[in-house]
Structure formats: structure tokens, C-alpha cells
Symmetry: C2
Subunit: 276 residues, 2 copies
């Protein structure tokens, strides 16, 4: 791994690294915040998954997370949102292809050879982080919008792997909303039954681990009614007794101003689980 950016931040360091991903078949950038507590030994790792159009930069410049990560002694790892590079397939529009990996393993061409963000985030990246940084093997995951979908799905698909999971404004039912139908149709093909393995509202019905889901959602979010529909996940959880806390936040929208306002709550939530 090659460090390409490094900034002192709240007594720790906000760095950006470049590395070759075998899973994705391309070079990737990943942001890593190391809190001052790494001087005293390995720290647990909180993975952040960003939303549509983002790179590894949006979260580290806008969310204000470093202060809380420093206070709690948690490493935050923020990967890019898709494979990158000239030989990686792309599409017109912001909601498919580069910047829109949806954290799935694609099965359809031209996507299948590079778009394997699930395996990258769940397996390859933690192995790299735990081998190259003062990181323990305690992991938690959270994200925003497409990345909130990613956090929920990755946690539900991989019981035991994450100590906790939370999401801001997540796409909870991608099999039933336009963003998800477009992306899952492209990456997984026309057979809709195959999409269900990447939909939190479907996965929660058969989850073997009752990992509590914490969700913050602004009630002034411009995507709430058409793309997000968090009440679908609440209903699915209620049907099987899966613990969920949906906090509707009055007046907040889909932006990083919303994320920044509640990121401290989420980081403290994860720190409790990671240290518990």
C-alpha cells in the first residue's frame, strides 16, 4: 500500500492510501483515519460506505468524523464506491457503473469482471487493513444512502463479522425502488429472485443473527418517498422480531450537513459495541 495523502487531524492522522485490489482487478484508493490511541496498541475498525457519486474523499472532508474517532479510539476506513480505471466498465448516468458499485458482486457482463465490491469490502480490504495498520480484528460498519444499503446488506449477509451496523438515509429495499432496480438489473441480470440476496428488507426475514439496526433518516430528504422508504425495513423487522431503531430527524435532508449532525452518535454507538 502506498500513502498518497496524509494530514494531522485531532491528534491522529487522516491518510489516503493507494493499493492494487486483486478482487476488483484495479488500483483503488482508501481513506484511513488513525486515532491517537493507536500509539497504545491496536484499535477496532469502523468501515464507512459512501453513497452514489462519492469517492473516498467525501466522507473525510465533510462528515467531521475524525473528532469522534479520536475521542473513542476507533480507526475509520472509508473505501471508494466502485472499481476505477480506464479498463473498468461504466455507464451513462450517476447511478450505475463508476461511483455506483452498490456493494454487490456482479454476475452480468460487462460488470462481472471488476464490480465485486461486496468481496472487496468484506474480505480483501479488512485483510489489508489488519495486516498493514495497528488494527484489531474487531469490525463495525456504517454508511450513507447507497452506502447505508451496503452497510445493512453486508452485515446481514455476514453474521458474526461486524460488532454493530448503522446507516444514514439508507436504500433499504433496492429490489423495489428505481435506483436499486436499475443497478441490480444491470449487475445481476433480469431474474429478480437473485436480487433478494442484496436487499436488507429481504435478508432480515431470514437473518440468523439479531444484530440491532440503527438508522437515522431526515424527514426533509428529497429521496425519502421514492428511493429510501425506511418503513419497509421497519415492517420487515417487526414481522420477525429483528431489533431496529429508526430515528426520523425533523427538517434534515440527504446531505453531509445531516450526516455531520449525527455522526458523533453513530461513532459512539459503534465504539460501545466494538469495545463491549
Amino acid at each position: 500500500m502506498e500513502r498518497i495523502e496524509s494530514y494531522a487531524s485531532f491528534g491522529g492522522h487522516q491518510d489516503v492510501w493507494k493499493h492494487r485490489s486483486e478482487v476488483l482487478g484495479c488500483e483503488m484508493k482508501v481513506a484511513v483515519y488513525l486515532p491517537p490511541a493507536v500509539a497504545d496498541g491496536p484499535c477496532p475498525v469502523l468501515y464507512w460506505l459512501s453513497g452514489l457519486t462519492c469517492t473516498e474523499q467525501n466522507f473525510i472532508t465533510k462528515a467531521g468524523a475524525q473528532r469522534y474517532a479520536a475521542e473513542e479510539g476507533v480507526i475509520i476506513v472509508a473505501p471508494d464506491t466502485s472499481p476505477r480505471g480506464d479498463d473498468v466498465a461504466d455507464a451513462e448516468g450517476y447511478d450505475l457503473g463508476k461511483g455506483a458499485g452498490f456493494y454487490v458482486n456482479a454476475t452480468e457482463e460487462p460488470w462481472a469482471s471488476h464490480y465485486r465490491m461486496h468481496d472487496y469490502v468484506v474480505n480483501e480490504l479488512p485483510a489489508l487493513i489488519e495486516a498493514n495498520f495497528p488494527a484489531s480484528s474487531k469490525r463495525a460498519i456504517f454508511g450513507h444512502s447507497m452506502g447505508g444499503h451496503g452497510a445493512l446488506v453486508l452485515a446481514l449477509r455476514n453474521p458474526g463479522r461486524y460488532a454493530s451496523v448503522s446507516a444514514f438515509s439508507p436504500i433499504v429495499a433496492p429490489t423495489r425502488v428505481p435506483w436499486g432496480e436499475k443497478a441490480l438489473g444491470a449487475y445481476l441480470g433480469d431474474e429478480r429472485d437473485a436480487w433478494k440476496a442484496w436487499d436488507a428488507t429481504e435478508l432480515v426475514a431470514t437473518a440468523t443473527e439479531r444484530l440491532p439496526l440503527l438508522i437515522d433518516q431526515g424527514d426533509a430528504d428529497q429521496f425519502l418517498a421514492e428511493q429510501l422508504q425506511p418503513e419497509r425495513l421497519v415492517r420487515a423487522c417487526e414481522e420477525v422480531g429483528h431489533p431496529i431503531e429508526l430515528r426520523m430527524q425533523a427538517g434534515y435532508d440527504h446531505s453531509y450537513y445531516f450526516i455531520a449532525s449525527f455522526i458523533g452518535d453513530h461513532i459512539r454507538h459503534h465504539a460501545r459495541a466494538l469495545k463491549g
Copy 2:
């Protein structure tokens, strides 16, 4: 004034407004954070002046100031860094013209007709803010780099106007460093004596008000030796007994990661003075 952006943020609102400036002769954008405390009555106002190349956006997206402004009940006003528009003079390079107003009143053409950022920030903007927002007439000022220079110079030139002043990585002696020599030479002409009225190290020698100066400076700042030289201001203050606290911060650079790490300290410092 017309509101062109509005985001819920830490219980208050981060807005961006557009207005016609008579002083600058153009349309300007200005960011205004209103803390939740405005519901209980007028709040004091802390003015932030940004550095070279910035607009009103950089500070509000990257500094993480809203949390502390909400906690302290302080309004933060962040103007743009120069006049804007097609009929405003500009120059090649990032350090003169648009994005580089240096908070002076220009006397030389082609700058003199629009580049009057001192009068805009000191007089016109506060009058607009205090007439249109739940703002008291208590004012404080801070800024970064070129904006740190601006904060120091505006406070020193206008005794009694600001309850407190602070700066991150300020250009403290623009008459003696390349950025300042280029800008002051263009805006004020070749007569170097005229530049001294816009140089904090010169102004402090004759200041009638002993307003304490708080400065944070990263010791890994890439501009420290050539452009910033804060020890010049410390020496000028020591010669006349002007109170100054220069805090050299180990490992920090010139970026917003540095600003974010210490913005809470500065906002609390100003809140104490504004409420004292």
C-alpha cells in the same frame, strides 16, 4: 437578500444567501449559520474570513464549525473572498483578483472600482446581517491564511468593533512576503508606505486597543517559512506589549484538517468574549 441554499445542521440552519453589494458593485454570496439559540433571541456574530481560492463554501463544508456554534449560541457569517462577476477585474494566478481580495480597499485600477473587501466585511455586511437576521451587534472575527491576515488587520484597524480576534496560519506581514507583495502592489500601487496600513505587524505597533491575538499555526505548514512567518508578529507585539498567543501545533499543515482540529477552541474563545 435571497436564500439560495438551506440545510438543517446541529439543530440550527446552515444557509447561503445572495445579495447585491453596493460597496463591491456586484452580487455576492454569503454563508450564514444560525444556531438553535436564535429561537430565544438575538445571538452574537462571529465572522470567518477564508483564504486564497476559497468561496463561501469551503468553510461551511469542511471546518466542522456548526457543532460548536450550536453549542455556544453563536451565528457564524462566512463571506466570499473577493468581488465576483463578469465585469469584475481578474488576473492570471490564484493569488490575485477573484478569490484573492486580501480584505483591502484597492486604490489602483483595474481593481479600485470593485475590490473593497475591507469596507464590505467591516461595514456593509454586518449592517445587512444585523438588519435581516436575529443577530446582536456583538461581533468577533477570525480567519485562515489570507483570511487570518484579514481578521487581524480588520480588528487592528477598527478598535472597539470586535470583541475578539483569532487566526489560523495567518499571513502576518504581507508587506514582506511574496503573496502580500504581489497583492498589495497590485491593489495599492508601488508606494510601499501605503501598504503598511494593511499589515498586522505594522498596525500592532500603533494599536490603541490591546485586543489579544490568538493564533494557531501548524509547524508542518508548507507555507510557513516563505509566506506566513508568525514570529514577525510575535516580535512586533513584544516590542509594544500587545498581548498575543501563538500556538505552534506539531505536525499540522495548512489544510482544513488543521482548521477542523482546533476550530472548537477558537469558537469557544470568541464565545467567551462575545458573552463577557
